[in-house]
């Protein structure tokens, strides 16, 4: 919105659905009336020509019937109207009308009657020229310095300048390098035509040069005959302005040097006669038309520039002097003296709004009020405000945005694992080796009191176990009251039988673990009902387990002492049964009402076996890296051979292949073999990692039993040894765990404050060997044995939510998490494929019910 608006002095709307453009408006005393008043001449693309003489009785009145002097239908589109001395033998003003294929010159005369409405006007055709080429625009002037008459120059759409000496055609010349017509103007001072070509440069052509150049019509001929009688049309000067021009005006006021004004699409230029830039002005808006109209002070020129934002700007050279808002976007603007008022701005819009205006000097300050800020109900607002403040207060009380306290009434997730297996197994691969894979149905119940929106339930089990469906979404109608997504988790155990079968116990094994208890031994039959291999009760102190895949574990209960022994051929296989035994013992004594039951482990830590597994895993990683390197080398080689071959085949003169094809074939085979090896190594690595994880669980369990660590401390160990992220080539288990353990050693297990100085590497890289890690693990055990306590919260140096380098976080936060630590066991396997090779099977598996 502009502060100032243009005041309409007189206005009218022309015709219906007619179109107008730049050349359609002209102001002149076209009827040569004695009072010398300007008339407004408007032609339209519909072919109407109208002449107005506005004389409003009162400022701002609409057009009266008598303001229209003449309206004629010329039947051809009017491209441009100009008034000048176009008829020979007289200096009277005549009207030139440019149609697309015709130039007509009319005389307009009026006969006055007794009253205003008795005046009659007539248009008489003086002469017309039919044009051979479609016209674009025209300019007129005293070409060649001729006195007292005006000549017309028409530019055709295909770039010919046609000069008419009044009633006769003089000559036509093609502009060199022409593509599309630009605006055209005649400079009387330099006697030249100025246009802006498609090369985006202002070009000036001398009239004399045009006149003596080779005739356009004969050019073809002359070129063929190479007579060279005419001169080539050469440009006088050019100036690159880098954009298309909308209009050119050449003016000279008060005998000052004439200036060439060029209105570009983004800039406004003022040039001297010789094509040098006097000034240019960058415009912030898209201009629609312009007019340099007068010189108010010596040496400066005032210019009107209208734009597509309905604004009219008035510049004195480059200084903005005034801006006013117009009711329409003008395509043509003129300034004239109408009805004894000087300096009236006449504007014409493309849809025929013709307005004579003057500049309003009262600023308009009205701004429409915003709809949203209206119709206020203060009572309602007060109530809403109070509610919002209450919510804010509540949230501030409960520390943080996330509601930590779980409200039981909102949503309850409960899980029921059916006691029997499905009669028909739902598993996709029904058989593993010789064993059948069973399946079990799990029933998840969601209970909610309030109506929730978009509840989502996802069920997760560790990869070797599979789900028939793991995602459920429930759409409810209402909105969650606080709008914060919430998560509720529920974990449950799956029966051991799902993956484990009773088997033959074996007396001998390479790996043995002994667990001490403080209570008399319990019958294994009561601990593992359904796993007794024999029917006779005497043998209940020995029990064999057989995993779905073949591995065997034997559990021995001492008859005399309070000990249990677990033995197996593989170190890592021991964990599941050990864990299961301890859990079941705890449950058993809990049922009996015995509260002080405790297990312990007294033997030395089986670190050597553990380190072997670490080494194996690390070896595979190194191996994988080597293989990938090799593979990339071979791939480079393969591409190089391909390129050479291609060059051979492309060559126009065939050359022998020189066994390149054999080489290609060989490399291809190598690549395939390497890729196979990489894939196989990946599989092995996977398998090795699951073993490692299983062994890690066992080690943590044993450390816990050995040092009688609390649940909190076990959770810290768990977080250090079992990072949540996946084991990859770039960031593997070894470096992550090493970083975590060295952090523990430096903080809570440090001997002196000197060691506490943290120097964390910002980047974790694959280590050269595992000796560092082994050393750290041994040190950790030593420190724990010497009474070190794992504690993060009391350590001032390490805040509770510490982020390990490499991004692994310590997570022990809630009871739920601790339970999962003890029960999380299915991560032994990550792939069904390894089921055959790997034996331990979990009885427990986490299931997460997530609702939001």
């Amino acid at each position: 919105m502009s502060l100032f608006k243009a005041r309409d002095w007189w206005s009218t709307i022309l015709g219906d659905k007619e179109e107008f453009d730049q050349g359609c408006l002209c102001l002149a005393n076209v009827d040569n009336s004695g009072n010398g008043q300007d008339k407004i001449i408007v032609g339209s693309f519909m072919g109407y020509l109208r002449i107005f003489s506005p004389h409003p009785a009162k400022t701002g009145d609409g057009a009266q019937a008598e303001d229209l002097l003449l309206e004629v239908d010329l039947r051809d589109p009017v491209l441009q109207v100009e008034v000048g001395k176009f008829v020979s033998g007289t200096e009277m003003l005549h009207l030139a009308v440019l149609h697309s294929r015709k130039l007509c010159v009319y005389s307009v005369s009026g006969t006055l009657g007794n009253v205003e409405h008795g005046n009659q006007y007539q248009m008489k055709l003086m002469y017309e020229h039919n044009l051979q080429r479609t016209a674009c625009n025209m300019t007129y002037g005293s070409f060649g310095g001729i006195k007292g008459r005006d000549l017309i120059c028409i530019q055709s759409m295909d770039g010919m300048l046609m000069v008419f000496e009044q009633e006769s055609y003089a000559f036509g010349r093609f502009l060199p390098g022409f593509l599309l017509p630009g605006p055209l103007a005649y400079s009387s001072r330099t006697d030249s035509f100025i246009t802006v070509s498609s090369c985006r440069q202002v070009e000036s052509y001398k009239y004399q040069v045009l006149a003596f150049a080779t005739d356009a019509d004969k050019r073809q001929e002359t070129e063929q005959q190479k007579l060279g009688s005419g001169k080539r049309l050469v440009v006088d000067w050019t100036l690159n302005i880098g954009e298309q021009a909308l209009d050119i005006c050449i003016v000279s006021f008060n005998q000052s040097a004439s200036s060439v004004f060029v209105l570009g699409e983004r800039n406004f230029f003022c040039l001297k006669d010789n094509g040098q830039i006097r000034f240019m002005k960058k415009l912030d808006w898209s201009p629609s038309c312009f007019l340099p109209y007068c010189s108010v002070s010596e040496g400066t020129i005032n210019t009107l520039i209208a734009n597509h934002n309905n604004m009219l700007h008035i510049y004195q050279d480059v200084t903005l002097k005034w801006a006013t808002q117009l009711p329409h976007i003008p395509v043509a603007v003129r300034v004239g003296c109408l009805h004894d008022l000087k300096g009236v701005i006449v504007t014409l819009s493309d849809d025929g709004h013709l307005q004579c205006s003057y500049l309003g000097t009262d600023p308009s300050l009205f701004q429409a009020p915003n709809v949203e800020s209206r119709e206020l109900n203060y009572d309602e607002l007060d109530v809403e405000m109070k509610e919002l403040q209450k919510i804010i207060k509540d949230i501030n009380k409960s520390q943080g945005v996330w509601p930590m306290t779980e409200r039981e009434d909102d949503l309850n997730v409960s899980v029921v694992v059916s006691p029997n297996f499905d009669s028909v197994s739902q598993a996709t691969d029904v058989e593993v080796g010789t064993d059948l894979v069973p399946s079990v149905t799990v029933k998840v119940m969601l209970q909610n009191r309030v109506i929730l929106q978009k509840a989502k339930l996802s069920v997760y089990v560790q990869p070797p176990l599979e789900l028939t469906c793991d995602q459920f979404t429930f759409e409810f109608m209402n909105r969650n009251p606080d709008g914060i997504p919430r998560v509720i988790q529920c974990k449950f155990r799956l029966p051991l039988k799902l993956i484990c079968l009773p088997g033959q116990p074996s007396k001998t094994a390479s790996h043995k673990i002994t667990i001490d208890t403080n209570k008399s031994p319990v019958s294994l039959l009561s601990l593992f009902p359904g796993f007794a291999s024999q029917s006779d009760d005497d043998q209940v102190n020995v029990m064999g387990f057989h995993f779905l895949g073949g591995a065997r574990v034997t559990l021995l209960a001492s008859k005399t002492s309070q000990r249990y022994r677990i033995q197996s051929e593989q170190f890592e296989d021991l964990w599941l049964i050990t864990n299961e035994l301890i859990l079941r013992l705890q449950e058993y004594f809990e049922k009996q009402g015995v509260k002080d039951f405790a297990c312990s482990f007294s033997g030395s830590m089986p670190l050597q076996e553990y380190f072997e597994l670490i080494d194996h895993h690390f070896e595979l990683r190194i191996n994988g890296e080597k293989l990938e390197e090799l593979l990339s080398e071979r791939a480079v080689q393969f591409r190089a051979i391909q390129r050479r071959l291609l060059a051979r085949f492309k060559d126009k003169t065939p050359a022998p292949l020189q066994h390149l094809d054999t080489l290609l074939d060989g490399t291809y085979k190598q690549v395939i073999a390497l890729a196979d090896a990489v894939e196989e190594n990946q599989g092995n690595l996977f398998q090795s990692f699951t073993r490692l994880k299983s062994a890690t669980h066992l080690v943590i369990l044993l450390i816990g039993l050995w040092q009688k660590l609390s649940a909190d401390q076990v959770a810290i160990l768990e977080a250090a040894f079992l990072p949540l992220q996946e084991d990859t080539q770039e960031l593997g288990w070894e470096e992550t765990v090493d970083a975590a353990i060295s952090h523990l050693l430096k903080t809570c297990l440090s001997k002196s404050s000197k060691e506490q100085a943290l120097n964390l590497n910002s980047q974790l890289n694959i280590p050269k060997d595992t000796s560092q890690l082994k050393k750290h693990i041994t040190l950790l055990c030593d420190r724990l044995a010497k009474g070190g306590r794992l504690c993060l919260s009391t350590d001032a140096a390490a805040p509770q939510t510490m982020v390990m380098p490499g991004g692994c976080t310590t997570i022990p936060e809630s009871d739920l998490e601790e339970r999962s630590v003890e029960q999380d066991s299915t991560e032994l396997f990550t792939n069904r494929r390894h089921l055959t090779a790997e034996t331990p099977r979990p009885e427990v598996s986490p299931l997460q019910g997530v609702s939001e």
Partner: protein
């Protein structure tokens, strides 16, 4: 000699209309009716109804039936959609008796699909059918000595040998009498012509002139108050013509043809059904209360009229005369 009720509907801006004025006049038809429209400029916050006829736009408040506006259609300076935030508003700038009025109507239902399209379309139809209603001089009416007919126009009579008495010697020409207007043109110059719609005829008389008995047609004040004299020989023929013109004028007055054709796909209810009956108040309302209702709609502050234009040497252009104590320089510097 009949004088047609002055047609004000399409050329005046009125406020606080009586229920009589709210009713459609003969020939005026209701085209569209938009509910939940707010008159943002003058009655901010009031829910109202916008009615569109072929001659005018009416707005009245639902709560307070006394508040209503009638807008002329003739010559609004501009009317356009403007998007303000999420609501679309109809912005109308119009001028009446040198006073510029600005109206902003907002649809209170955001995102309403049918907005003011009918207003724009009817306005367009009105603008393009001015020949039906406007007194015209020297326009392009005649083509090959024949009248260019308007879509709903029929020529009833053509009278040759009609002298226009606007100049000393008189001009011989031809009358075309149609169901909408009377057209005269000079036989020698097609461009010298006059088109007088019955709508703009104030009176038709036979009067004595220096040329003898002549037909005198007086045009309405709003069209310029022209007095046109025509002489038809012999006198019998003159009287016959006058009779014909008079009867056609009467027929036209009973059911005027405004030429604004706009077909809505769904017909709205008649205007009477939509107009809220005014309850006659017991208390006589002082008519002075009404006078300043229009002040709220002034386009430019509280100014009723623009000051007269003067030539400014400083800019080399015509400007509105400055208030005492103000300079162009000062005004411009305040702004920038």
């Amino acid at each position: 000699m009949s004088v047609l009720d002055a047609l004000w509907e399409d050329r005046d801006v009125r406020f606080d209309l009586s229920s009589q004025q709210m009713k459609t006049r003969p020939g005026e038809v209701l085209i569209d009716c938009l509910d939940s429209i707010e008159d943002t400029k003058g009655n901010n916050g009031d829910r109202g109804r916008l009615l569109v006829t072929n001659l005018r736009i009416l707005w009245h408040s639902l709560a307070l039936s006394r508040v209503n506006i009638s807008l002329k259609k003739k010559n609004p300076l501009s009317s356009e959609f403007k998007l303000r935030g999420q609501t679309e508003a109809l912005y109308i700038l119009t001028k009446c008796n040198s006073t510029r009025f600005e109206f902003i109507f907002t649809n209170l239902v955001p995102g309403s699909p049918r907005l003011f399209t009918s207003v724009m379309a009817v306005h367009r139809a009105y603008e393009t059918s001015k020949m039906y209603r406007d007194f015209k001089l020297r326009s392009a009416l005649i083509q090959n000595k024949q009248l260019r007919l308007l879509p709903q126009e029929h020529v009833y009579d053509k009278i040759n040998g009609v002298w226009n008495l606007s100049s000393d010697q008189g001009n011989l020409g031809t009358f075309f009498i149609t169901n909408v207007r009377i057209v005269w043109h000079a036989n020698m110059n097609d461009s010298f012509n006059v088109s007088i719609p019955y709508l703009q005829i104030r009176s038709i008389k036979i009067r004595d002139s220096k040329f003898g008995l002549a037909l005198v047609i007086e045009s309405s004040q709003q069209s310029g108050g022209y007095v046109l004299g025509f002489k038809i020989d012999p006198v019998e023929k003159l009287q016959e013509s006058v009779k014909e013109i008079n009867s056609l004028h009467k027929v036209y007055s009973a059911s005027p043809i405004f030429g604004v054709d706009y077909e809505m796909e769904e017909k709205p209810q008649p205007l009477e059904a939509l107009t809220v009956e005014q309850i006659q108040d017991d208390v006589e309302i002082d008519s002075d209360d009404h006078t300043d209702a229009f002040v709220a709609y002034f386009a430019d502050g509280n100014k009723q009229q623009d000051r007269e234009p003067v030539f400014s040497e400083e800019l080399g252009l015509a400007i509105e005369k400055l208030k005492d104590g103000f300079t162009l320089q000062g005004l411009w510097e305040v702004m920038s």
